[in-house]
């Protein structure tokens, strides 16, 4: 394993020190691994707290700032943070209007946020939780852990964040967050595995002719292993998987997301294929993101997330945002 790190044990705090130094708009509690807006909570504004395992940068710390999150809790690589972090973040961002927890649907994240929400509630903070579960590669069912939360997390954080800035009440912010999740689906493809510092070796082996279809964002293998194909075919395959679960039509918000090790030039090639595909379906990408936003360390590959927009979601998406990884309108 060759990584630009100082020590396998200090990867997360070392990176958080860099985040703190790079972004004056953020306040970073390195010991507790929590990233806050430097400006602190705003009276009357609902607080947004998210978090999860590290290794998905810029998610979540890169989305803390005006128009998105108020705080993000960083766990170890691919390990959800602990309740203490969430409780502290929740207390710090609450200014009476209550706090929304944005939780990716993984057993670890769910259980830890659940414990934190209970204890925060006992401490008098009004907490609502929103589960993000957009990954169609995982069949949902009552008896399983359900679908994973992946790319749609960014959409939920941006749109709920914009709603919160308008001074909307907690119930309203939670409502729109759930609507974004309900209207969004994702599918991911890996061209290579990733290597976690702790394991020190690739999470799986893949021949030069093979790919993994239906991967998540934790270096896990996908639902199936398949033969490498041209970008256009891989994109159509992902779009069909999404369409099968939630028919794509009308105006959409589309993200072609890199897994961390795939260069931007390739993501643009994929995006060109996405637009072709949407046209065939009579739909269009009214808004888009192309880049590395929800990553899996150094994995090569991509994921596509499609959200069916309506007038309200489009307006909230376009609202000003000022975070390290997403910025427009100010």
């Amino acid at each position: 394993m060759k990584k630009l790190i100082n020590d396998v044990e200090s990867v997360v705090p070392d990176a958080l020190r860099g985040v703190a130094a790079a972004h004056p708009g953020l306040r970073v509690d390195v010991d507790n691994q929590i990233v806050f807006r430097a400006s602190g909570p705003r009276p009357g504004k609902v607080g947004l707290v998210s978090g999860g395992g590290s290794g998905h940068e810029p998610l979540h710390a890169g989305f803390v700032g005006y128009g998105m999150l108020d705080a993000a809790c960083a766990g170890e690589i691919f390990t959800s943070p602990v309740p203490d972090q969430m409780i502290e973040a929740t207390a710090a961002v609450d200014d009476g209007a209550g706090v929304l927890h944005i939780v990716k649907n993984y057993t670890g994240d769910v259980l830890n946020f659940q414990m934190a929400a209970e204890l925060s509630g006992e401490e008098g903070v009004r907490v609502e939780s929103v589960l993000v579960d957009d990954d169609v590669a995982v069949r949902d069912s009552l008896y399983t852990a359900g679908r994973r939360g992946t790319g749609a997390t960014l959409f939920v954080e941006k749109i709920a964040g914009a709603m919160a800035e308008t001074g909307a009440p907690l119930a309203e912010v939670a409502r729109v967050a759930r609507e974004v999740n309900a209207r969004s689906r994702s599918f991911g493809v890996a061209l290579s595995p990733c290597t976690t510092p702790a394991a020190g070796m690739p999470t799986f082996d893949l021949a030069d002719t093979e790919i993994e279809l239906g991967i998540g964002i934790h270096g896990e293998p996908g639902r199936t292993r398949s033969a490498m194909r041209p970008a256009r075919e891989l994109v159509h395959l992902a779009m069909d998987a999404i369409h099968e679960d939630l028919p794509i039509s009308g105006d959409t918000l589309v993200m072609v997301n890199g897994m961390g090790g795939t260069p931007l030039i390739e993501l643009y090639i994929a995006y060109a294929a996405v637009v072709e595909h949407l046209a065939e379906k009579g739909a269009r990408a009214a808004r888009n993101l192309v880049g590395n936003y929800v990553t899996s360390l150094d994995m090569q590959g991509f994921s596509i997330t499609v959200c069916r927009l309506n007038e309200e979601l489009t307006r909230l998406w376009d609202a000003p945002v000022e975070t390290p990884a997403l910025r427009w309108g100010r």
Binding site: G53, G75, E76, I77, F78, T79, S80, P81, V82, P83, D84, Y106, T107, G108, L111, N112, Q114, M115, A137, V138, R139, Y143, T144, A145, R148, T196, A198, A199, T203, F204, G216, H218, G219, E220, P221, R223, T224
Partner: protein, 212 residues
């Protein structure tokens, strides 16, 4: 060993667990790499290292308070799925023991049963879902049987540890329905569940100290 277990023995159990988890760290992470996200060994090692420090800081006076401290520390330091689950198991077990200074095998069984119930409630996993429950549940049953047969602690705990190991191995052919492994669907078949494997380690650590 005398027939009742005191605080020192429980402290020794946790110490031995920390030692084996550290020793088996790579293997557990390897199991998790196959069907999860390659961090289970690192997670438990981090947790039990913190537990060791916590116990060194202030050694609790009773087996019950000791297990509660272990549980709280795991919840506060591990994260992931295993943190809350193992934490809850130890917390519930500890609470069941109350402030008794010495623990009989029957009480131990009641405690572990409470721990299992806590894990079941929190994670809503049933046996056969390919989780730590598939190691803990048979262990609790084996302990109960040993109590009925009036077996001595060391022997009873040995039976429980053996049942946990068998239960862990039995997860290999299972298709996961809970936790990350469930995302793999049919591809989760053929691998031992990391959490079941670590549960077997925790119980064999107890047997090691009980047999001294």
């Amino acid at each position: 060993m005398n027939t009742a277990m005191d605080t020192a023995l429980f402290a020794a159990w946790i110490e031995e667990t920390a030692r084996t988890v550290a020793a088996e760290r790579e293997r557990l992470t390897g199991l998790d790499a196959a069907i999860g996200d390659a961090d289970h060994g690192a997670n438990l090692d981090r947790g039990f290292t913190a537990v060791t420090t916590a116990l060194a800081d202030r050694a609790p006076g009773t087996p019950g308070s000791l297990l509660v401290l272990v549980g709280n520390t795991l919840i506060r330091k591990v994260g992931g799925a295993s943190g809350p689950l193992y934490g809850t198991a130890f917390r519930e077990a500890g609470k069941t023991l109350g402030d008794t200074p010495e623990v009989s095998v029957a009480q131990l069984h009641a405690a572990l049963e409470a721990g299992l119930a806590g894990v079941r409630k929190l994670g809503s996993a049933a046996e056969g879902d390919k989780t730590m429950v598939d190691a803990l549940a048979p262990a609790v049953r084996a302990l109960e049987a040993a109590v009925q047969d009036g077996k001595a602690p060391a022997e009873a705990i040995g039976a429980a540890a053996a049942a946990a190991r068998t239960g862990a191995e039995a997860t290999i052919p299972m298709q996961a329905r809970k936790g990350r492994a469930s995302y793999l669907g049919p591809r989760s078949v053929g691998h031992e569940d990391p959490g079941a494997a670590s549960t077997a380690l925790v119980l064999s650590a107890l047997h090691t100290v009980a047999a001294r």
